[in-house]
Assembly symmetry: C2
Homo-oligomer: 426 residues x 2
Amino acid sequence: MPHISHKGLELPQSAIRKLVPFADAAKERGVHVYHLNIGQPDIETPAGALEALSVKAHEMAKNHGVLEYSHSAGIPSARRALCNYYHRHGIDVTPNQIIITTGGSEALQMAFTVCLNPGDEIIIPEPYYTNYNTFASLCGAKIVTVPSDIKTGFALPPMDEFEKYITPYTRAIMICNPNNPTGYLYTHEELLKVAGLVKKYDLFLFADEVYREFCYDGNKHFSVMQLEGLERNTILFDSVSKRYSACGARVGCLVTRNSEVYATAMRLAQARLSPPSFGQFFTEAAVDTPQDYFNKVQKEYVARRNVIVEGVNKIPGCFCPMPKGAFYTVIDLPVEDSDHFCQWLLTDFSYNGATVMLAPATGFYVNPELGRHQARITYCLNINDLKAAMKCLEEALKVYPGRLPVAKKAAAKKPAAKKKAPAKKK
Amino acid sequence: MPHISHKGLELPQSAIRKLVPFADAAKERGVHVYHLNIGQPDIETPAGALEALSVKAHEMAKNHGVLEYSHSAGIPSARRALCNYYHRHGIDVTPNQIIITTGGSEALQMAFTVCLNPGDEIIIPEPYYTNYNTFASLCGAKIVTVPSDIKTGFALPPMDEFEKYITPYTRAIMICNPNNPTGYLYTHEELLKVAGLVKKYDLFLFADEVYREFCYDGNKHFSVMQLEGLERNTILFDSVSKRYSACGARVGCLVTRNSEVYATAMRLAQARLSPPSFGQFFTEAAVDTPQDYFNKVQKEYVARRNVIVEGVNKIPGCFCPMPKGAFYTVIDLPVEDSDHFCQWLLTDFSYNGATVMLAPATGFYVNPELGRHQARITYCLNINDLKAAMKCLEEALKVYPGRLPVAKKAAAKKPAAKKKAPAKKK
């Protein structure tokens, strides 16, 4: 048979999905699995936006309508609605600076294609969202990571650390804010530092802000689109579907004031004809969702986060920072190997007929060793389930054979913390 | 500012869109433009499928539902529904041989990425659907064309013509059936010949069959999926949204029995998380649209096609073959330069306050010279508009300054017809 392409063979396998067969087997055995591994919110999709789509489809059916291709950049009124949304968040952009995409994923893919040559490097603080790998790999670009530290809650590493990684191939810095997988919310000051570096080396600044609405404890989100003097450098990826707990709608957007990037991305947009119209009908109504919806959602996520942070930190040898955004956190575990532990939870453990599924953090690092004692937790379940899941985790660590004694764990962590940038670059 | 990528700079501009600003200007002047240039059907979207989506969205709103990510390959019940559809068309596939995509475009992009290395060649009969260029360009592959001839209605060129173009870099043969832009419907015999070549050289066979339901005059569609012994070679691209006149729904699929291609495409599918759910809800209902819907649609398109074929052929110096499928045809025009003529129609001509917009065929050939005297016509307007458009074309050719005398035109065509394969390959 004809061969698969080299790019095809190199496509990374999703780290988050590796354990799915073990979870399925656990369920087959009758064990309940608390899914703390996936970012699928259980929050209600705004009924008003669903109803608006329902009415639109009904009217089209009644009036013998035709569901035509939309504009390749998205329905103009939907783009105007997004502009209004951004304006309310202190971001001033025009409809001709927005391309509506099939989820944030397509926005990422477009921007990487438009901006990156084979061999180009994107600097990202790690741990980072693994799916960036696939889109980088598709254009032959390389993700270069600057380690952030769980002890600081995964704050932005110092700029001189970033600078160590800059080479003639560096083309972009990428920031996910609030962060998946760490839940860290970058401050205005941190973003100003990134801006300085972007200007100094004339780089692209890619920003994934799909969790913009999920900021806690009174903290405000500051967008890269609010950074001055970076109009030609900055490209924003956003997701309407993630924001309004409508992941299946697959509506996102690429936003940039760089007219050359925009025009080039439009050629890609035209080649794929148009973004999905049903999702755009949903979007037009969704962006008018009252603020009260997010107030409730934020309150709920804060309560959930607190269950996780408290639950993890009271387990001897575990540590969970206090994330300020998104619905993720990366925790420290007193285990030799988090991949083994997370698999063992599904294959060998249950407590009161249940177990817990975590995402080993190894998949969120370029160098898996850095995540060897960590796991990502998502808090997309209700409070009671999260409490039960924390109890499972606590009981599991009492009996897990690969558990590290606290002293030994600290020793085991040292090499990773000591790792020097120059060695990493080889 | 940081530079656009080489790939970005090389992205082809859509040939069909080049004239849009001239059409807009004509409309500004109050001239009515008959759009024979775009494949946006005016046929009613099946009301039952729209209504099913409407009900689903309404129930979700009423029940505080969550629109979750679907399976990355598509909702299992939607894939089963597609299997039933294919079974009714003599194509037996399983849900695990289908990946639901965002329109046929994403299916194309996935398959090209999975199968083609930089420098690889795809052989396609020309004229061909221009957007293939973008997806080939994205993976550094090259489209190599075998000219088909308007005199045969653009039938499959002889296999020894194809064979002249096969090199060590040839990785695939691609067939669009029924064809966009020619409307040609490949016969069972022609496809068997292609199959022989695909087997002989162990190539991929890419087939774009999005117009499967649009076959006329009692002709039956024969799918590449019905070719025996090519299970590991064949990849089908399909479009639910195009089939059911719901272009904006953006639902297509990739179908293959090659498990390695499927598994690799699934990695891409997982990286972009899932296809749009609303469109999939529509799809599940749409595939149950009664056959009567297509009978009516076919009857309508046959009537429209006949208006075009008769209208064009009665204009001195023009020629239109008799297409058997899709809603396109490529016609011969007695003009020096169809790009100039199509632009002139918009900038300098009107008849009874109207003009006609055609797609110059130069954009459908690798060597634009081959399309210099041709244009693509789509018949997506109602009969009366099509008749008025034909009258416009007739009147325009009476006064167009770049019109060729019939004898001269025949001479001008000769060099193109004589062009030899070896010269082309340089």
